[in-house]
Amino acid sequence: MTSFVDLEAKIPNNVGLKDDPVIRRALETWQPAYLEWWRDMGPSDFKQDDIYLRTAVGVGRGGWANFGHVKMPDYRWGIFLADPETEGERKIKFGDAMGQPVWMQIPGEMRARARRLIVTQADTEPASVEQQRLLGHTAPSIYDMRNLFQVNVEEGRHLWAMVYLLHKYFGSEGRDEAEELLRRRSGDPDNPRVLQAFNKPIRDWMAFFCFTTFTDRDGKYQLAALAESGFDPLARTTQFMLTEEAHHLQVGENGIARIIERTAQLMKEGVDPRKVGAMPLDLIQRYINEWSSASYDLFGGEDSSNAAEAFATSLKGRYREGDGLYKDPLALNQNYETEIFENGVEKKVQIPLRRAMNALLLEAYHADATRIVARWNRVLEQYQLSERVYLPTLRFNRQIGLYGGLWFNPQGEQISKEAFERKRTEWLPVDADYQYVKNCMIKVWDRGKFANWIAPPPVGINNQPVDFEYVKFH
């Protein structure tokens, strides 16, 4: 079953906007406001340059995206829902509504909760574009610059995807929310973005690659949980977003891998990376610690009644819930066991499973991130170096949840606040680190050339050579 994709429309879509004049007009009214936001808060400059970008053009068999040079303001931001996986009636696979047909409209009693879930997700999309808006100026290559802009335009598309849901299913409240999404600003003290990690500036490319590795990965897990939703339009919207998200994670993962590779080359040659404007491993480690721990917090408290409600109402499932991997799709009668710390003494606690949904999602995330770090270490191995990077445990540097306000080393052993403070500069970046990285961020915009702190990628984008003209400056 493949839906009709209307690529000629003012807003490309496969949701039948042509036959839905009310929503179409509402979205066409929102469109100029969006473009104005993009102009003001999207990538600063580069508006007249041609960027080699991927544009989503549909779903299903035979390719879903086109590649070509476009100017960013002319990017075709569209609205796409994944096609249903099976034909015929689909059933809700978890929670109290399990076994009921999936909802094509949002049931009244769930409206407020569903709206909050959607707005929280939606807000991160423009926020990250705002956080990254200055990075183009210091791009280490036009290949990387292109990847940055690809991520940015797709975050813009994700905002479109969420705004469609708000307009279509949440009436005037949804329309108001859609406007608010263009009004909040990352880091603005008066009108900040919803989640803390999205108000943190992304000052340099190290931060950008850490953000796409760790923070975008949180986004991936949140989307995956929403992709199980009993509210069908939400499930299918997020399923499609996940395909684009995979590229953002790749940009981060490969970016750090390339930085580590450059560092390893230098170390192998006996050159101190610091002497030549490359990234020493200890500094890379501090960035990993900073961004991974900030991203752990995005999952919310391990014991959460909100998470329990989202699961109970069949709005947000567990990771891969619909695959039938879980023995108990109701998640009743089971506990999740974890440890808490009272006066320095470790104690086991049992959390009723439904209340532990954030913890379960965070565990899946952590396993995934562990694999990424192992992959980075294989680069060091290849250069026959004995140094390794590591991923801090879930207890390290937490502001919220069971470990918030307590002090642990990256390996998860509880320590005193004083001991933590003594080690802080070893574990987390300090101003001197940010300053050093900033000084290394010198733009390299010649075709096929890369800054000295990052290795070239093994292959180019979409089978193009590495020295392809990914950005044509005008």
């Binding site: 994670l249 790749q250 993962e253 039938g324 879980y326």
Partner: protein, 114 residues
């Protein structure tokens, strides 16, 4: 687990998607659908975020059969489909390429305690 679906996971991680895994996913799903439109075989084709065997992508995993196929290309799809729908035999030629611990982590992740 015998009454649950058979899950075919196609990696959509960075390296595999660069090699065309999203397209491979769609094609595999479509070919299974063409052969078994009523899904009597109870097979579900899903995407999976990076198994950690990136150097050997495109990776495809079948669960609970514990098949871990690597370096899968579009040309292999008919054989994978035949193995799933007809003979049920593991395709040896595509197996055993990734490190054993990578296989193990993947199957551990899919086997939840809940």
């Amino acid at each position: 687990m015998s009454d649950g679906p058979r899950l075919v996971y196609v990696c959509e991680g960075g390296d595999c998607s660069e090699k065309g895994s999203v397209e491979l996913f769609e094609e595999l799903r479509a070919q299974i659908h063409d052969k078994d439109s009523g899904n009597k075989s109870n097979i579900r084709v899903r995407k999976f975020p990076c198994f950690g065997g990136c150097a050997h992508g495109i990776n495809v995993v079948v669960y609970p059969d514990r098949c871990f196929y690597s370096k899968v290309t579009a040309a292999d799809i008919p054989e994978v489909v035949a193995s799933l729908l007809e003979n049920g035999k593991k395709i040896e030629r595509l197996s055993g390429k990734v490190e054993k611990d990578v296989e193990q982590i993947t199957f551990d992740l899919l086997t939840t305690g809940f």
